[in-house]
Amino acid sequence: MAVLTHRATPRSRRSGRRLAADAGLLVVAAAFALPLAWVILSSLDAHADLRVKMPDGVTLSNFDAVLKPDITFTPLLNSLILCGGGTALTVVCAALAAYPLSRFRSRLNRPFLLTILFATSLPITAIMVPVYALFVQVNLIDTTQGTVFFFAASQLPFAIWLMKNFMDGVPKELEEAAWTDGASSLQSLVRIVLPLMGPGVAVVTVFSFVMMWGNFFVPFMLLLTPDQMPASVSINEFFGNRGTVVYGQLAAFSVIYSTPVILLYVLVARRLGGGFALGGAVKG
């Protein structure tokens, strides 16, 4: 008997530990889930307020109310133009820049990469006031292209860093064969290297897009005309009109605005096995 209990101890201790870990995690998850539950339940509730509560009856009236050109479609289209343009510019510039950094040795690579790494962690928020002042002087204020350029520049350091690390993982042998056949650098980049690092390019693209889609401060500072505002800024209109805030509609808009980035994240995370490969990116 004594022998039996003695034998059972490690296993029961382990399963006890697992139970405790599960319980602890579920408590934390519940706390994290409450605000998420609010937005989903409220978006389906005709009488939503600030509390998490089950709706009396599920309704799509909130979605009906916000799915109008001036409330939802124009801001989302603006977001798409700004973030799509910014992401395209970022990815193209980052892929081009990563190629010589990854493939050719130069004594300038190290200082350049160190500068890039330094720039990845600068607080962009801090330079928005001077950027505003500068944009006023060069007439880029309140223009889509100015905001796109700034988005791209602010995202580029991290994009170059990521792209270079992914590119380092592509073996050189295939390219060398192409070089012997007379292919130029650009040809081997576009035809050989980039297709081989598809997941890496996807990560850089999705990451840049998600960061821009959620960014509030940059368009808030650099754009002035309400018609040009992306969803991240226009969402504040729900509070702007002094009257009572229709929380159900705010929640419905939040759901619509958040869905694309969550889907994109799931898409990429699933292909890369979670973690967004960010763990690796952080460690260099």
């Binding site: 530990r17 579920l26 998420l36 600068l122 607080p123 801090a126 330079i127 580029l156 958040s258 952080v282």
Partner: protein, 311 residues
């Protein structure tokens, strides 16, 4: 880019069929090799380095938002004014509280705890927790702000729970606004630490922890003497990145409190914005921005030192 300097570096890779090309081809080749860097470098110089230099310039002027022909150089006046300004000192303190509470204590510790628990938990629980915590992270900043605004408001979910537990309810956004926004930042940012620590813990060889377990080391002792020393590099990088991210939080606080009530949740980015745009003092606001940038750069340099051996 200085293509000329680049030309000095010898080509390392033999060039296949055309490898016999004489050395004078080197300059041209270096130029064409450097060319792909050009678009990125131009963008970075114009839109990132430019504003930083401009920032360092107008921080020393009395530039205003409107009605002034040209700004004049005022030396360190803006900085002297800042350190005599109670509102600035207030913002510095609040930024410190916000950073220490939400980044150092909150995100970092909770992220490590979650990662450590997830190692032991069953798979469905692990997946569920990961999904919920990461969703909070992926949500746009402004949406996160609204969700936590609803959570902390007097009529919000937190007070409903407190009442249900027969605990006194509070007007959180009024009594302790800085605590409310700090919790909001923990809610939003913990996923990053969790991912970093999950990756770090996953790299610790199983034999080591098992050996310690056989030797009779308890859970806490194993954590303190084995796990933490082994992941200390990840702790360093994570702390730096969390702090840098937290220093530049604007949207979250703006949506929840606008820096108020009064200025009791006005961290430096919000103070900078208010000075520059509500008080029209671009020069003064930029001086504050420059201070923020310098602090951020120092953290950034420490972060790079931590990464140094890996580059």
């Amino acid at each position: 880019m200085s293509a000329g300097t680049r030309a000095a570096s010898p080509p390392v890779r033999p060039l296949g069929a055309r490898g016999a090309a004489p050395r004078r081809g080197g300059l041209l080749r270096s130029l064409t090799r450097t060319l792909p860097l050009a678009p990125a470098v131009v963008l970075l110089l114009l839109f990132l380095a430019g504003p930083i230099v401009y920032c360092a310039y107008i921080a020393f002027t009395d530039l205003q938002l409107t009605g002034q022909a040209h700004a004049s150089f005022v030396g360190f006046d803006n900085f002297r004014a800042a350190f005599r300004d109670d509102a600035f000192i207030n913002a510095v303190w609040l930024t410190l509280v916000f950073t220490v509470l939400s980044s150092l204590v909150g995100q970092n510790t909770l992220g490590l705890a979650l990662a450590a628990l997830m190692e032991r938990a069953s798979k469905p629980v692990r997946t569920l927790v990961g999904a919920v915590v990461i969703t909070a992270w992926v949500l746009p900043e402004v949406v996160a702000g609204f969700l936590l605004y609803a959570f902390f408001r007097r009529e919000g979910t937190l007070n409903a729970i407190l009442q249900w537990l027969h605990l006194p309810s509070q007007n959180w956004m009024f009594t302790l606004p800085i605590l409310a926004v700090s919790f909001a930042n923990v809610w939003r940012g913990t996923a990053f630490s969790m991912l970093v620590y999950s990756a770090a813990l996953g790299e610790i060889p199983k034999e080591i922890t098992e050996a310690a377990e056989v030797d009779g080391a308890g859970g806490w002792r194993r954590m303190w003497h084995i796990t933490l020393p082994m992941i200390r590099r990840s702790i360093g990088t994570n702390l730096m990145l969390n702090t840098l991210q937290t220093l530049s939080v604007f949207g979250l606080i703006w949506v929840m409190t606008r820096g108020g009530p009064g200025n009791r949740s006005q961290t430096l980015p919000l103070f900078m914005y208010e000075q520059a745009f509500q008080n029209s003092m671009i020069g003064y606001g930029t001086a504050v921005a420059l201070l923020l940038l310098v602090v951020g750069s120092l953290f950034s340099l420490v972060y790079m030192r931590l990464l140094r051996t890996e580059l």
